[in-house]
Amino acid sequence: MFIGISAYNHESAIALVDESGTLINYYREESLSRIKGDKSFPKRGLKRIIKLHELENDSINSVIFYERPLSSFLFPLKEATKYLPESMNLMVHQIRNFNKSSLSCYIDLAKYCPGLEKKLIYTDHHLSHTLTSIAYSNKQENLCSIVVDGFGDRSTSSISYVKDKYNIKELWSSNYPASLGLFYSTITDFLGFSINEGEYKVMGLSAFGKSESKEAKLITRLIRWDKCKNEIIMDLTYFSFHKSITNSYNHKLKDLLGEPRNPFAKLQPGDKYFQRYANIARGAQDITNEILSEIFKFAYQITKSNHFLFSGGVALNSSSIEYLANLEFVKSIIIPPSPGDSGAAIGASYFGYLKSNLKNKSIDKPKLYPSEYSCIEQRDHIKKILDTKFRVVTNKEDESIDLACKLISQGEVIGVIISNGETGPRALGNRSLICNGSNKHSVNVLNTLIKSRSPFRPTAPAMRKHIAEKYFQLNPAIMDSYNSMNATCRSKKDSISITYPITHIDGTARLQIVQDNTILWNILERLENMGIEILANSSLNISGDPTCFDIIDGLMVCSIAPLNYLLTDLGMIKKR
């Protein structure tokens, strides 16, 4: 068994790969701790994996940490030395908190699982991302891997040529602090959203902006791609993230773009400053698309491969994926369901597997729902909660699905907690809130009343493949991405789907093509006979919380939000 760990920088996670190269379990720590973005050592995930699989130290071949701790500690620190004394607070903070950085992985592992620390090995941050992508790719040879994130353990973007899974050569990298990810995070901060949390809001907001606006054009001063040197050039005079703990931007950016947005002010289309902020978001999205396409062009030039793997936090920008897939030389782009740091735990565990002495090693494509769980395990535990506050309408699977369909057709929003959880961050049906995707009222209830989301953010649709082909312009280069909501696509011209509430203002939707024999597939198969072809699908949670993991989390959402029904392994549950 091989345990991969990612932690300390972004959401932490743990992955378990067996000796046949199959991902058999995976947990994001936030799912278990219920703290969104939890980046602490994944102690709960480790404990659960050890308990469920009855692991002992002898049965674990190696534990693999997803990055080189000293590199990730030293590179930003060395950069900060250039800005002393201005960067003094940042440096003092980093040095004093070294025990909360990747450097403490060894100590934490020894603390929570004594003896296992002796089996700890390390891999490069971007290699972990690449191996995660390889795992999800049907083709595992002659690929070009592109990783773009905020900061790895030595670079912020890289291009590698994957000859095969044992031969991955890095050909280009962009050094810290020139970072497309950190640029996008800074704009996120400027627009009043939290870094590492609000980037997708910027993406949603950008659809309302105008590329030809003054604000959007000003953004091009901040970052660009140098075509002669083939590198990302960032004008650091506008930024502070490399020398300050508290500020990602400085007064110069304020002088350029005007007053930053108050994080507590409402942001609604039609408001006084809405268009200005939307234009800034548009500018950030445009330059992101442009730089990514230049990286892809350069990658094609140096690897001669037109099959791409794309990962790192920036690969979560689903709007860019559609843009990249339209580049003429691109034949395919594979993006793992969790392309950020939490997904890198999967790549790390495969690193250990590939480095082991086992024979005939092959990587099985991981399932979309690897987080092992069943509501059955908590059935007795929640008896009093169910008896007092809820009612099991039916405990038969077939009847529950029929009832769900009937309720959806009547405009109801349904919560779903079925079987294993997703890799995240997108809910693909097993931990979802679903309703009729063509019913404006239902989508509005889901979006605004249950989830308290800003009105400018779209809700993603889920449908079966033939329906997606009917309404949307699918790009064959990114077909796999549609299974995990990784890419947006456009509604067909004159299609009725443009008027559906699941379609964004710019005519795009981040659709999910549901896989056969999943819960959403079963529901949609029946709903299509009732005239409903598209579901709105959003993660089951309340604002500020991670996606639900177990039935207690789901019941809690029902209790505090206007959600009446929960479809579970125990049947259909109704709030009293």
Binding site: I35, L127, Y166, N167, K169, N262, P263, K383, I560
Partner: protein, 230 residues
């Protein structure tokens, strides 16, 4: 008290309430008794609602303020850990025995009610927010009553004076925590020059260190030593 100080108190209260909600949710999942699970579930629900209420109050008081002031009052869930509202070691139910945990709930709900009374006073009488806080105070008293009832039912050998003992212990702990926090801030000020000196020395070393020697360009990444942390 300045507007910024009031925002600071509301900001901290949100974390405290969210932290309590998560503590109760964890207790609901960990306890072996289905009755206790129900009790903790209901308690967690109330704490979630309190968090929501305080978030709304903070939001209403912040949206007209200067951006540079209110930016620091953004709520990021990870702050629950960095600010210490949820221990890095785990939830209380994971680290305490059940008896101590119930005693903790019993005393802290009462202390929370007292601190909400202070917040209510700060926000001024006869306004909408003040009424909402009154409702929260009622909830806290109810939680306190339930914990007390449970405590006496399952640990009847404990006398009211022993509950008073728990309460006093927790009060002292809270005061010590505050004192420790204040001292830490004070000590940080004293030690900052020392930290700065250490940082300056390290920065000299970092400047000498040539990290480009460890570049990966043209390397097979799979061949790099898996034991190396650099």
């Amino acid at each position: 008290m300045s507007a910024s100080e009031i925002l600071e108190i509301l900001h901290e209260t949100i974390y405290a309430e969210h932290g309590s909600a998560l503590e109760m949710l964890a207790a609901c999942k960990q306890t072996k008794s289905t009755s206790l699970a129900y009790g903790y579930f209901e308690h967690a629900k109330d704490e979630y609602n309190h968090t929501k209420t305080f978030k709304e109050i903070l939001s209403n008081k912040s949206y007209n303020c200067y951006v540079d002031i209110v930016r620091k009052f953004r709520i990021t869930p990870i702050g629950l850990i960095t600010k210490g509202y949820v221990s890095r070691k785990g939830y209380l139910i994971e680290t305490m025995n059940l008896k101590d945990f119930i005693a903790y709930v019993y005393t802290n709900e009462l202390l929370a009610e007292t601190s909400f009374a202070k917040i209510k006073k700060l926000l001024g009488p006869n306004n909408k927010d003040s009424n909402r806080i009154s409702n929260i105070m009622d909830d806290e008293l109810r939680h306190h009553g339930m914990a007390k009832e449970y405590f006496l039912k399952y640990y009847p050998e404990l006398q009211p004076w022993q509950l008073l003992y728990y309460k006093t212990k927790e009060t002292i702990k809270n005061k010590t925590r505050k004192l420790y926090h204040k001292n830490i801030i004070f000590l940080e000020k004293i030690f900052f020059p020392l930290y700065s000196l250490l940082t300056l020395i390290s920065s000299r070393l970092l400047i000498i260190l040539n990290l480009t020697e460890y570049k990966r360009t043209d390397c097979n990444l799979m061949d790099i030593n898996a034991r190396s942390i650099l």
